[in-house]
């Protein structure tokens, strides 16, 4: 099918980030001293497990970052391809059933009827108060709708078994590959793998992938036919919403660090290296920035952008683009307010490093300030940067939720955990309670932040020179 790629601003930045990561990996591979701490990371079972989870999230986020317009079916025979005005992502294509199955309003997880009673005019003309059938959930059952529970069990079992089979297959392949590599017999390798006697924590890797596969394949079976996590107020599938929110969370977490990094690196190292009035100026700047409540600053900035966008409606072609610009702007403003912490750390470290003899020796050799900063200071503070980035990530994901709750977060039309929580909070007071949007957002956010925190811990342990 013909598509027209329409990358958004944040897409470009995500692609750039991927390139940077690829370059970093390539560079690291050639430097033993840079590789050593990462070797330590991959030997840590917790780090391996959490990085598998993070990778799953990242994959979904990346798929959701490939935006395009689909070609419309040709109405006339002019031969010209006309593209839809709607921008969708690769993930939207994959999750088409989820996206299209829009019900009328709330429905509970796995339900086949709406959550609220409605007056329905029946065939005989009487009006009855009842829970109407959902349009899509269990739609394939037709008249046998009372069989829905059995059907769900059937799909669940199918998913569970196929997931387990896939896992066993994968385990066999991994074991075979390891056995060939280590030049031992298959059974011997299997024994080692099972007892966790391998050098790298392959067992942990296999189990984590197993859990992911198992859940994934159950969802794969159930989701197209039922609303696994129910639907929200306007009938959107909550599972779809939470999955779409992954990209928002990742973008906020990653791009913000990307925005703050140049500030923190440049200012922090300059302040520590030059000292004197440069240090004073930079210190005053970040002390002032730190003393303004950041929520206030963010609210003001977002409102300014809102006004600008309202005045220049023509500059934005679609809702998606508008939302994307607002997301990017939020990242920028979050980055501007959050560089101070890292900056202070880097300043302190640079103050220490600049007195080191090797920096003095570089001076004595006639190296320029720029060269000393890039060749001697930056590589020696990189561990701090890495540790801070990984720790900051999870706090930023949480910050997004808080900001949305306050009402200055991402665009209301954009799917994000913050928006989900914000819109769900009113429904918590309802009787019976509508708990599922909140629960779904909570579970996904919790898993992501936990994985990120565990990974950050492992990274810090590996890079912290005091631990070694």
């Amino acid at each position: 099918m013909m598509v027209q790629l329409t990358p958004l601003w944040t897409d470009w930045l995500i692609y750039a980030l991927c390139v940077i990561i690829a370059v970093y990996i390539g560079y690291t591979r050639s430097k033993p001293h840079l590789l050593a701490p990462w070797r330590k990371v991959v030997r840590n079972p917790t780090a391996v497990a959490s990085s598998v989870i993070l990778l799953v999230f990242a994959t979904i986020g990346l798929l959701d970052s490939i935006h395009f317009r689909e070609a419309l079916p040709q109405a006339d025979n002019s031969g010209k391809t006309v593209y839809s005005a709607e921008i969708i992502s690769a993930f939207d294509r994959l999750a088409k059933p989820l996206r299209d199955h829009v019900e009328k309003t709330y429905s509970a997880p796995l339900a086949v009827n709406l959550f609220a009673m409605e007056s329905v005019e029946q065939a005989d003309g009487r009006v009855a108060r009842l829970f109407p059938r959902l349009k899509y959930a269990g739609g394939h059952l037709g008249k046998d709708i009372d069989q829905s529970t059995q059907d769900q069990w059937r799909l669940f079992t199918k998913g569970a078994i196929s997931g387990a089979l896939l896992w066993v297959l994968l385990g066999f392949m991994l074991n075979a590959a390891l056995a060939t590599h280590a030049k031992v017999r298959f059974s011997q390798m299997a024994q080692r793998l099972w007892r966790g006697q391998t050098e790298l924590p392959w067992r942990t890797l296999l189990f984590t992938i197993g859990i992911v596969l198992w859940f994934g394949s159950i969802v794969w079976q159930l989701a197209p036919n039922y609303h696994l996590f129910g639907t929200d107020k306007v009938g959107l599938d909550v599972l779809y919403l939470t999955l779409k929110s992954i990209r928002t969370g990742l973008v906020i977490g990653i791009l913000t660090t990307l925005v703050m990094l140049p500030f923190a690196l440049l200012f922090g190292i300059m302040a520590g290296y030059f000292k004197g009035w440069i240090d004073d100026v930079i210190q005053y700047i970040y002390t002032v920035l730190n003393s303004i409540p950041s929520v206030l600053l963010i609210a003001a900035a977002v409102l300014m952008l809102q006004v600008y966008m309202d005045l220049n409606k023509d500059a934005f072609n679609s809702v998606v683009e508008r939302a994307d610009v607002r997301l990017l702007f939020l990242c920028l403003i979050l980055g501007v307010t959050s560089w101070t912490g890292l900056c202070r750390l880097l300043r302190a470290e640079t103050l220490k490093l600049r007195e080191f003899d090797y920096v003095q020796a570089a001076h004595a050799l006639g190296a320029s300030h720029w060269k000393i900063m890039t060749r001697h200071i930056v590589p020696n503070v990189m561990h701090i940067v890495l540790i801070t980035i990984t720790l900051e990530f999870s706090s930023l994901v949480l910050a997004e939720a808080v900001l949305a709750y306050v009402g200055v977060g991402v665009d209301p039309s954009m799917h994000s955990w913050g928006n989900m929580i914000n819109s769900a909070r009113l429904e918590l007071a309802r009787e019976p309670m509508v708990w599922w949007p909140l629960a779904a957002a909570f579970v996904f956010m919790f898993v992501l932040v936990l994985a990120a925190n565990l990974f950050a811990d492992a990274v810090r342990d590996a890079f912290d020179p005091r631990v070694q």
């Binding site: 001293h33 080191f356 003899d357 003095q360 050799l365």
Partner: protein, 671 residues
Amino acid sequence: MAHLLEVSNLSTLIQSGTRKVRALDDVSFHIERGETFALLGESGCGKSMTALSVLRLLPTGGHVVSGSVRLDGQDLVSLPEVTMRSVRGARIAMIFQEPMTSLNPVLTVSQQISEVLVTHQQLANAELKQRQLSLLESVGIPDPARVLASYPHQLSGGMKQRIMIAIALACEPDLLIADEPTTALDVTIQAQVLRLLRNLQTKTGMGMLFITHDLGVVAEVAQRVAVMYAGEIVELATRDEFFQRPRHPYSQKLFDSLPRSSKRGEALAVISGSVPRLDQEFVGCRFAARCDQVMAVCHEQAPRWINGDGGSGVRCHLYAAEMAGQGKLGAILVPLSTAQTTSQGGAEVGPLLKVSDLKVHFPIRKGFWQRVVGHVKAVDGVSLSIAPGRTLALVGESGCGKTTVGKGLLQLLPVSAGSVQFSGEELTQMPPQALRTRRGKFQIIFQDPFSSLDPRMTVMEILEEGMHVLGINNAQRQDHIDRLLTEVGLSPESQFRYPHEFSGGQRQRIAIARALAVKPQLIVCDEPTSALDVSVQAQILNLLHSLQAAHQLSYLFITHNISVVEYLAHEVAVMYLGRIVERGPVESVLGSPKHPYTQALLSAVPLVEKVSGREIIRLQGEMPSPANPPSGCHFHPRCPQALPQCPQQYPDQSVFDAGHTVHCHLYPCNH
């Protein structure tokens, strides 16, 4: 009667993961009451481990495998931990090397002393106060009441070490373990502390286990000496016996590698290689790989402990045959090569470097507006000159500003006043760009080889840094790197490795290669050997010596080690509190020092050879702060020969023969 401390066949193992380090292997010795027993050896030989094994304070994974430690006949190894705690501090006390880190910075001196008194003697209130005061008095601290209320950062290094000693002595221990107690101190302070320890010992009659790597200190304090090598005691002897005829080849080598004036112009004996790692199984003698009297049997069979007379002994195959034949242990001495002083042609050419009236003042800022309220006069009017191919040694205690002179003349620090002329060009007024192109001509080597190399760069990248300045292109660069590494005694393959893979001595070689890479004419050596062991120090000194001959290098050698000066320098300048007090040719200044400070400094240096009639001049107090130097002659508050005019006026320069000059009122101007 039992010995005070008897250690017999002590073996200690430290296990970390799968690595087993045999830190101590079959160590036996004993200490009597009132005796000082010195443990001598290079770093990594197990000296500190011996002390920690005795106290049962081994690091995690460490445990005593076999042997016994008896204090007054009581076995400490089998004591339960609770009982052991009452032994530590009360019956055995310990002083550590670093007084800066052994005291807790957030507690007052009084709190830290009372800790041990309360624990072991349950003293309280007035009694406690009284005891604290008398303790501080006994370690020679003036104004003890004030010191009790102060925090460690308000005290100098020497004071802190005295307080550590006071804490150690608080419970009148039977045995004091001193782990390199003076290594971090200056020679004049070291002399004070050593004398204090000796006096205390005669007063209390305690035994002392003195751990050190410094042969000079051993000669000063010890009655008996044990030499440790790779976890074993290789020689045990009384002090006189040991210094007259060391028996073990390792001990002999230690003596030979000491720099001194009699060895000027010749290469120092070196012990090749380094101390072996202790996580291996040894077959044969542990020193065999580095020994130049090695025999076939040394590699195959571990030498037995051979007892000599008077409790002495040695662990070496050389003496096994002799023992069987004569039943008496004599020393087999390698003939020392005859001293020959090669007089280097001091052809009178213009000086390469001429520094006149150099001042480096650091402003002290206070208050919100950072107003300058005073200056730390780190360097206050220093003049010196160095001719091509010559070595000028700058001697002084820490804090006298010698490193600041070095960095100031290299323009690594902003110079407040004065001129620095390098081959006729004035450096202080030079614009930064012009200065940068000339930087290759003068280089610096630092004290600490662990902080002077960027840990994130390979050796090749480190060496290349300076070559960018020279503009050597890539093809030549590779060649140049290979040549440099060979020249400093490293293999060219090592250029692909990172600094942490090298030992201290090797790192210092890399630092020297980095300085040489830009073909300098002058190298400022800022205590390049003080962080190294004696045998490694000899290697580095030899290297510097041969490089000077090969490249006509000039050195400004900053050091506090007088024996290195005697060995290497042509001229010497003695600094005190930012000023040079005495300057001249090395023979004349060290041979007949004129300034009272130089005399005191030289007399405080512990000597290996016993010089009869050597009178040690004890300096009182410590160097004042350079922020607030005394009026007139800076030295007058401590000077034993101070005259009435000393506090009034800084003395002019008095000239003696052969360029020997002194700033002192004792020698009225004779020009």
